[in-house]
């Protein structure tokens, strides 16, 4: 019987070790698997490379992982925000390496890894600092830059509903990087609101098929909207 449920977030991340590369889903706080990140902090692994759109917000999730100085390098498109103070401090101290990637190239490099693509030519970034030193090619009269896939040891993502086979749905704009990160990592851990019996999810509405998900952790909290309303 296939059952991808793991008893706890800590158990799901027990084999994360120093030096690994992890993708973490989310765009700002939406879709950020905060409880998995809390477990990653408890796990204590250091010298990590993190792939995320941002570099943490306020004192929440990814920002706390940075604060604990567990991250050697971050690959992201938009680190600087009004509430990215933990990243800002590390960056100014030169205590973290930044690989800045245009957001669409970040998404496509992740997608390429999951799809088994060895590299691709993209028009994004051509003629800019972010393409300096990279191979370029003219194709049908347009200029392109060669970009390589981004792989990871783990992807930590946040889905909404799941079944024990690992099929996932998402909620609104919390989907963002989840589906492509799920495919790009060797081991994908999804935190979900509910794990339901096989057949409960309409196959037409499954967004991430279970083949891309290795571990499921049910985090039994109300959805984000009701949580925010409860806190308000």
């Amino acid at each position: 019987m296939i059952d991808k449920r793991v008893a706890s977030a800590d158990a799901a991340l027990a084999d994360v070790v120093d030096g690994m590369t992890l993708m973490i889903g989310g765009f700002g706080a939406a879709g950020q698997p905060a409880e998995l990140i809390d477990a990653l902090i408890r796990r204590g692994a250091r010298d990590l490379t993190i792939i995320n759109n941002n570099a943490g917000n306020a004192d929440f999730g990814l920002a706390l992982l940075l604060k604990e100085r567990r991250v050697r390098k971050i690959v992201c498109s938009f680190p600087r925000q009004v509430d990215s103070w933990h990243f800002d401090k590390l960056y100014k101290e030169k205590a973290i390496e930044l690989e800045l990637v245009p957001q669409g190239n970040l998404a496509e490099r992740i997608r390429a890894a999951g799809a088994g693509i060895g590299g691709f030519f993209t028009p994004t970034g051509y003629g800019t600092q972010l393409a300096e030193g990279k191979e370029t090619r003219e194709i049908d009269g347009r200029q392109y830059v060669l970009e390589y896939p981004l792989h990871a040891d783990f992807a930590l993502i946040k889905g909404d509903r799941a079944d024990r086979w690992g099929n996932l749905t998402y909620r609104k704009t919390a989907r963002n990087f989840g589906p492509i990160m799920a495919a790009a990592a060797r081991c994908t851990v999804a935190q979900v609101r509910s794990v339901e019996p096989l057949g409960a999810l309409d196959p037409e509405s499954v967004v991430t098929p279970g083949i891309f998900v290795q571990r499921l952790v049910q985090i039994d909290i109300p959805d984000a909207k009701s949580r925010a309303q409860a806190e308000a």
């Binding site: 957001q103 994004t124 704009t173 989907r175 909207k225 309303q229």
Partner: protein, 211 residues
């Protein structure tokens, strides 16, 4: 000197977005355009974090942390909206499906080069987000910016001195003084704020303008 207000600029941009368009509004000044889109046109707003059919801000107390725009502000979904993941979202830009984007800028060059992501200052933390993808992806790139810097220098320049976002990508520039098209023959004035002469506009602009 008479100038368009920010809302007048936004209304002027909105006038140039036709019925049926798919549009991405950048963070900051371009966000104002949403308030001025003519009610009789169906225009679908795209936000790169995965939503087509974005609606206005929710009423207080109805914010949903899973429903945000690219500026990470709470928004709503309109009837007919769709959600999608990031690779699909950027395919909509890079693949040439998005009709318009409206972006802010530090500088635009005479040939439509755009600089809007980084001042290049050594102590600045760089952040690019989706700016480079929008700049080369949307079929029409509208720039919305003040005509001059706070110290009075033209933001329309022969060559950008700030780091580039995209090469030759801007189609139309909306400033607080004028609307200017980037054409193969150079910059062409489309519209000028009432009461400003073309000579005065030229004096405030770092490159030659055609009429």
């Amino acid at each position: 000197m008479k100038k368009f207000t920010r809302d007048e600029m936004a209304a002027r941009v909105a006038r140039d977005i036709p019925e049926g368009s798919y549009v991405n509004l950048g963070i900051g000044l371009p966000t104002l355009v949403a308030n001025h889109l003519p009610k009789d046109r169906e225009i679908i707003l795209h936000t790169e974090n995965g939503l087509l059919g974005m609606g206005p801000a929710p009423r207080p107390g109805e914010e949903d942390p899973d429903l945000m725009n690219a500026g990470k502000q709470p928004v709503t979904e309109l009837p007919g909206a769709s959600f999608f993941h990031h690779a699909d979202s950027f395919s909509m830009m890079r693949g040439g499906h998005l009709d318009f984007c409206v972006l802010g800028a530090f500088q635009v060059s005479a040939t439509g080069d755009l600089a809007n992501w980084h001042t290049g200052a050594p102590d600045a933390i760089p952040a690019v987000g989706g700016a480079m993808d929008l700049a080369i992806g949307a079929k029409n790139v509208y720039v919305m910016m003040e005509h001059t810097t706070k110290t009075g220098e033209s933001k329309i320049v022969q060559r950008c001195t700030y780091p580039l976002t995209g090469v030759g990508c801007v189609s139309r520039i909306f400033t607080d003084l004028a609307v200017i098209d980037v054409t193969p023959a150079g910059l062409k004035v489309v519209d000028v704020v009432d009461g400003l002469s073309l000579d005065e506009l030229q004096a405030a602009t770092g490159v030659p303008l055609r009429r």
